[in-house]
Symmetry: C2
Subunit: 306 residues, 2 copies
């Protein structure tokens, strides 16, 4: 799957991913009003609103980008109807030819981790039949439980040609609380990075492995170090834009081949119309504002790649 992602990144000259993390507070009033008129002020109404919001944005930006990253929490908060909207979003993005990174940050052990891997990347057997329940292309995974939590995902990645991005150094202010603690003179995130590299080698076919890593744009020095520790891991980089990460900080996340990283922006793209910079579009043209924000993000990032 990493090959497919790389091909799309190269084809579109766009090492970026749009985070589809819809909040009702971002959703334009007209979209909400229409959804509530149809389904009421219910979980179904909220789910319909975020799905229509997503669809309009995907329609506006799909030709510019290789991938999307829906954050499942934003759908899970609307219960079952929200999760139906999550699945509709995945299917729609696949129809549009986009790679889908499910930002699910799952992590458990043994048969439980296997169940998550089946849910998001694999297939589940029911009697004589098999189903791919959510069918993302990649999933984000939490490493705190060690390899017992990762191996079931590796097995599914091998079987189904899917991929994972393991949390290594997250973009948030308190990520250092545990991740930066020093063990024998080195930070925990370095040890996790080494493991990610080793896990990735188990399933690597080409220059890059189906096992990638999450490293926040807000910590470029650590990104540089982790790039060296995990030479064959694709790095998914959150934290650009709204969280404070700058384009100039992104260079160390890429390898000299110009590959190796994919930069996420969520609200900077999907809620672009709320920024002063894009206010000229007006709320009704929110999707066009998102397209312009993607183009601006690409213009910002392309020059820094080696």
């Amino acid at each position: 799957m990493i090959q497919k992602l790389i091909e799309k990144i190269v084809e579109k000259n766009a090492p970026i991913v749009v985070g589809l993390d819809p909040m009702l507070s971002y959703t334009p009033e007209a979209v909400k009003a229409k959804a509530f008129a149809c389904c009421g002020e219910t979980l179904e109404g909220a789910a319909e609103a975020v799905w229509q919001y997503n669809r309009a944005i995907v329609d506006a930006v799909a030709d510019l980008i290789p991938a999307v990253k829906p954050q499942i929490a934003m759908y899970e908060q609307f219960g079952i109807p929200g999760l139906i909207a999550y699945k509709k979003t995945i299917d729609y993005c696949h129809e549009k030819g986009l790679v889908v990174i499910g930002d699910v940050k799952r992590g458990d052990i043994g048969s439980t981790s296997a169940a998550y891997a089946a849910a998001h990347l694999g297939k589940v057997r029911v009697g004589e039949k098999t189903y791919a329940p959510f069918d993302e292309d990649f999933a984000t995974v939490n490493p705190y439980l060690g390899v017992d939590g990762i191996q079931p995902f590796l097995d599914v990645c091998e079987k189904e040609n899917k991929g994972i991005f393991v949390l290594v150094k997250t973009s948030n202010p308190s990520s250092g609380e545990f991740q930066d603690r020093r063990i024998d003179g080195r930070a925990l995130y370095e040890l996790v990075g080494e493991k990610v590299n080793a896990w990735g080698e188990q399933v690597r076919r080409g220059a890059y492995s189906n096992v990638g890593a999450v490293v926040g744009a807000t910590y470029p020095e650590m990104g540089k170090l982790l790039r060296q520790i995990m030479p064959h891991a694709y790095i998914l980089v959150p934290g650009y834009g709204a969280q404070g990460g700058k384009a100039a900080d992104l260079a160390p996340y890429f390898n000299s081949d110009g590959l190796g990283a994919i930069v996420n922006s969520s609200r900077g793209i999907i809620a672009a119309y709320k920024q002063e910079r894009y206010a000229c579009f007006g709320e009704e043209h929110f999707a066009e504002a998102s397209r312009q924000a993607v183009e601006d993000m690409l213009a910002d990032i392309r020059p820094v790649i080696g």
Copy 2:
């Protein structure tokens, strides 16, 4: 919410929780056959089978236990229909007066963590209305992202009188891969335990806080140390039974008041009928086998509590 859990534990003299982690391979053939006859060999059929399986077990054991712990991965693997069965299980257990610990191991940052907290423990606003999407009483939470991921859960715990159990030392063989690494002479799990204690103090009202911890039964020495580090945290103890934890190992997890820990058993209870010990019940009486397994677990554990 911890008060409510403690009251039920005391009332039933049962510091245990039954893990509702249904796998199709555990589900009795007759239950599956009936579900597939109604819904086909589909995700809906699988979800119907695990729901009927759960319901029979809950009916058989509800009077003996204070709480259940459904593992969401086992439902998520059946996609949307599976998650509907998860929600039905929660609601049914509430009707039966049981405390519900959602074993979701969620963990993210900022608004995303807030969305998970709303999904599982809190409420979400849609227009002028509010909804409690999954409405568990407790949720398990992963600490790798630091307090940014925990604070939104603390806020919801305060507002809604709900609780969390933070992963500190998990029961699996590879849990030491990161959790045992030594930082300034102490293990990472100790530092996480200290943070859990501090987070718990923020919301503590009585002897125990709504912020508990997960510490595996398979590491009793570490359990003893963590009991000291987190005197006011309830400890949710997985790993008893099928994973190898013995009753004699459980004493250090309890405080001298006889409280402070709740021991989980999942497949040891729900798939009891598959054990040689309970084979006399026969597959058709799987629920009675589960009831006997609960009684045996209680007889095993009660003597070790101070």
